[in-house]
């Protein structure tokens, strides 16, 4: 089966918009989609920033989450997507920016993230001290979607500067420089991985400035859709096995028998790509999934799960149609 192409021409928009068609197909509330088209018509994207409007590699499947997220964004709220690994936080964030047709800024948070790396810092250019703008600033003035990836990895104190930006004040006040107001369509979508060792708690002040969506793990139907779209030639029988494999691993993680390292949807999809290219299934899954874990015993457990789904010597032709 060939993958369905989503495209339509929306008035005033030169870009093929596949995402909205996709939302219709997924059964997302038509009113919400209509609201989006209105917003898109009202807020034009600077052609110079057109390259920043994402063209998502994967669609996000999950109607309920879509509706929650769209409604919140339409109401001017910022989003915090919380979920364990491999549930599609970044995929959803990217898809939301694409659906609203907004340029996006990806900002990865880390322990050394501070106000200067977010908003901007003084720099020296042509013999003058000038302000070099950071991604939050750019996002604010250009009406973009700021994707704050792994927001909990930064120190809470060092990103306190964002409090005024994220709440009703919607301003960025840079001491000694300027105070600017956020563009009407500027939104921030933060993601946060919660629950494994090493993740930090987000403080209340920051959390209260977001609408929080707890994203569920991908369901088998949605995973089937995803695989079908990615691999139109994958045989039904084997698609079921790959889905089963992912669920087996998910169950093992839930029961704390293995860590989340090998529960890797990206890795699974990449491994199937390698199989499609001709690598034997066992070695593709080994580099895509098993080896993600660095513990010998855990690798053995993951290997057992794989061997109970896919035979060691399975070749491409058995798994793909053509």
């Amino acid at each position: 089966m060939k993958p369905k192409k989503y495209y339509s021409m929306i008035a005033g928009d030169k870009m093929n918009d596949m995402t909205l068609d996709f939302l219709r197909d997924e059964g997302v509330n038509a009113d919400l989609i209509y609201e989006i088209t209105k917003i898109k018509a009202a807020y034009k994207v600077d052609p110079a920033l057109d390259y920043r409007v994402p063209r998502p590699r994967f669609p996000y499947y999950g109607t309920e989450v879509w509706e929650q997220a769209i409604t919140a964004l339409l109401c001017g709220e910022n989003l915090l997507l919380v979920s364990p690994k491999a549930t599609g936080k970044n995929v959803l964030a990217e898809n939301l920016a694409a659906a609203f047709g907004r340029p996006s800024w990806d900002i990865s948070f880390h322990i050394n993230t501070d106000s200067s790396s977010l908003i901007g810092t003084d720099t020296f250019e042509n013999g003058r001290v000038i302000q070099r703008h950071g991604p939050i600033y750019e996002c604010a003035v250009n009406g973009g979607f700021g994707i704050l990836d792994e927001i909990n990895m930064a120190k809470n104190e060092s990103i306190a500067i964002l409090h005024a930006t994220l709440d009703f004040r919607r301003i960025i006040d840079i001491p000694g420089y300027n105070k600017i107001a956020l563009d009407g369509i500027t939104r921030f979508i933060a993601t946060m991985n919660y629950g494994y060792a090493g993740t930090r708690e987000l403080n209340e002040a920051l959390a209260s400035r977001f609408m929080v969506i707890r994203m569920p793990g991908i369901s088998s139907q949605n995973l089937a859709k995803l695989l079908k779209r990615e691999f139109p030639h994958l045989k039904e029988k084997y698609m079921e096995q790959f889905i089963g494999l992912f669920q087996d691993l998910q169950k093992k993680c839930e029961n704390s028998e293995i860590s989340t390292k090998s529960l890797d949807l990206r890795g699974l999809i990449s491994a199937i790509h390698l199989i499609e290219k001709g690598l034997p299934a066992s070695s593709a899954l080994e580099i895509g999934i098993t080896n993600k874990s660095f513990d010998d015993f855990e690798r053995k457990l993951v290997e057992d799960v794989i061997r109970l789904r896919i035979s060691d010597h399975q070749k491409r032709d058995e798994i793909f149609l053509d």
């Binding site: 029988k237 096995q241 089963g244 169950k251 015993f297 053995k300 057992d304 061997r307 109970l308 789904r309």
Partner: protein
């Protein structure tokens, strides 16, 4: 065999994966000949839990447990359950077809531990041959049992149990221990049980843990009376009477000896000598057990997986030793010094005043005026006599992940003692089927053969009591004045072959836990009473320490880190030498 906890955890994970129930605590796990987890069979255990009502099956297993031969019935049931679970599971997981084919090949190549029951192995082989569509050449009896055993996957759990019970009733009547009857509830079971009691005579030819009975049953069953239990029973009695029974028994034993010979190497003793030794040692708790004392020299004509494994392990042992050469050498030097120092202090000359000896000129006057006779100085050297050390290495499956360490430890002790000119003998022991195998690496006079210790290889179970008894017996025959036995063990005797002392009570029969520990402890006490010193270097996990303490008392060294090995063993040996 106590399989390493990690492999056990791995087996659990496969079972949970298949059953999709992580709260399930499986009673059966399957490991292959090398103690590694078997993917297919563990999957089957989990799949049975998923597709059938395991609670009912559990009741069935509890029910057959009342018979001392319950492993036979369990294995029988699993052959049929495999068939059902496979049929159901292969739609969910097409890979099962391939896994089953491989499992079949492993059965054909004997890669699973042999069952105690000849018939089970026959049935398994025939079953998988059928599964692969191979023409089977089996006896009519095996074929007919299999016909009934390979159920259709559409049967319900209840129907499966009913059919299993019918097969058991028809072919292998249960020998129930009455006090445990309260275990089972279903009416159908009671009915069959009553029916069985009427067939009392059928039991006469079944003995606990002897496959002889099953073989005889299988090959001597009159064709015309296939379903007639009474006739069968009579034929068995007939067999006993006319001596054919004894002949079968002897043939089976010879066949077993051949298997052991092929697997572990030729016996050091002639068969008659071994039998004589068995008559002395294989009594009491170890009745019906056999001994095999070998040098581990394999027949070059025989190629087997086990043999390859042994050679591979030898390389691994040597590699491990060489990798840690500096620290191992350090340990040897340290241990050598401790022993040497102890011996020097112990054997230092002492002097005292006596009536004879070297005259002390300054004291001569005492003899004249005080009638004191002790005016001589006598020097004596404490001669404690000759000392020998025997090292006994536990080579059971529980040590499978510590083989390199254990061989190194054995080598370090042997080499240190050699450097102190103390004669050493090194043996390893394990149990396979009802044979306890002692592998002699080096004897007292073979000073240059310490390297052979790296031929150490762990497999099978451990019947510590019999191994200790044999080692002590061998030591008793030597001429040394003081004999020390150092056992490197995890203090966890286990042997499904069991003992007959407990009568029909299964818990008392099984050679493990309390029974095994008590038996080993008894042998140790007996050895100590006869004047031998028995020390233990503990090589297991902390949880097994109390059992080891029970066996060896305070003469037990627990090695927490390899750097301390020499020190701790040194203290143990020093204390022993001081007490001589």
């Amino acid at each position: 065999m106590e399989t390493h906890s990690q492999e056990k955890k791995r087996a659990y994970n496969i079972i949970w994966n298949a059953s999709e129930d992580y709260t399930f605590r499986p009673e059966f796990e399957v490991f292959d000949d090398r103690g590694e987890v078997d993917l297919y069979w563990n999957f089957i255990v989990g799949a049975v839990h998923k597709y059938y009502d395991y609670r009912q099956l559990q009741e069935f297993f509890d029910y057959v447990k009342q018979d001392s031969d319950h492993p036979f019935y369990e294995e029988l049931a699993w052959i049929s359950l495999e068939n059902c679970a496979y049929e159901k599971g292969r739609h969910d997981r097409p890979v099962l077809e391939d896994l089953r084919r491989r499992a079949s090949e492993r059965v054909f190549h004997n890669e699973y531990p042999e069952s105690f029951y000849f018939l089970i192995d026959e049935l398994k082989k025939a079953h998988f041959q059928r599964a692969l569509g191979i023409q089977t050449q089996v006896s009519e009896q095996v074929s007919s049992i299999l016909d009934k055993l390979e159920f259709d996957a559409s049967l319900t759990t209840e129907e499966i149990i009913q059919r299993l019970l019918l097969i058991i009733a028809e072919y292998f009547p249960l020998n129930i221990v009455p006090k445990k009857k309260s275990f089972f509830k279903p009416i159908s079971l009671i009915r069959i049980n009553l029916h069985l009691r009427e067939k009392e005579i059928g039991r006469l030819f079944r003995k606990p843990f002897t496959d002889v009975s099953l073989i005889s049953f299988l090959f001597n069953k009159p064709k015309e009376s296939e379903s007639n239990q009474d006739t069968l029973g009579n034929s068995a009695i007939q067999l006993k009477k006319n001596g054919v029974w004894r002949k079968i028994q002897e043939q089976t034993e010879t066949r077993q000896r051949e298997t052991i010979h092929n697997r572990y190497g030729a016996s050091l003793l002639a068969e008659t000598q071994t039998r004589m030794l068995e008559q002395v040692l294989c009594i009491g708790n170890h009745k019906d057990c056999h001994l095999h004392i070998t040098r581990g020299d394999f027949d070059p004509k025989i190629e087997s997986e086990y043999k390859k494994d042994v050679f591979k392990q030898k390389e691994k042992n040597l590699k491990h030793f060489k990798q840690n050469f500096a620290s191992n050498n350090n340990s040897i030097n340290q241990l050598t010094n401790i022993i040497k120092n102890t011996m020097l202090i112990q054997f230092e000359p002492s002097t005292y005043q006596a009536e004879t000896g070297l005259i002390m000129a300054g004291r001569v006057w005492k003899s004249l005026y005080l009638d004191e006779k002790n005016v001589f100085l006598k020097t004596t050297r404490d001669d404690i006599g000759s000392v020998s050390v025997d090292i006994l290495l536990d080579a059971s499956g529980s040590q499978i992940n510590r083989q390199e360490i254990l061989s190194s430890e054995g080598y370090i002790i042997a080499e240190s003692l050699k450097r102190c000119h103390i004669p050493v003998r090194v043996l390893s022991y394990c149990t396979y089927s009802n044979f306890t195998i002692l592998n002699l690496f080096r004897d007292y006079d073979e000073e240059n053969k310490n390297d052979r210790i790296f031929g150490y290889h762990a497999s099978g179970c451990n019947r510590d009591g019999l191994a200790l008894r044999t080692a002590l017996h061998m030591m008793a025959k030597t001429h040394y004045d003081h004999k020390i036995l150092i056992v490197l063990s995890d203090g966890k005797p286990i042997d499904p072959y069991g003992i007959s002392a407990g009568g029909s009570d299964l818990d008392l029969n099984f050679y493990s836990d309390k029974v095994g520990v008590n038996d080993a402890a008894f042998e140790v006490r007996k050895g100590r009473q006869s004047g031998m010193s028995i020390l233990c270097v503990f090589t297991g996990q902390d949880e097994d320490l109390p059992a080891a303490k029970k066996i060896y008392g305070n003469d037990l060294a627990c090695i927490k880190s390899p750097e301390k090995f020499a020190d701790i063993v040194g203290i143990l040996i020093r204390n022993e030498l001081r007490n001589l």
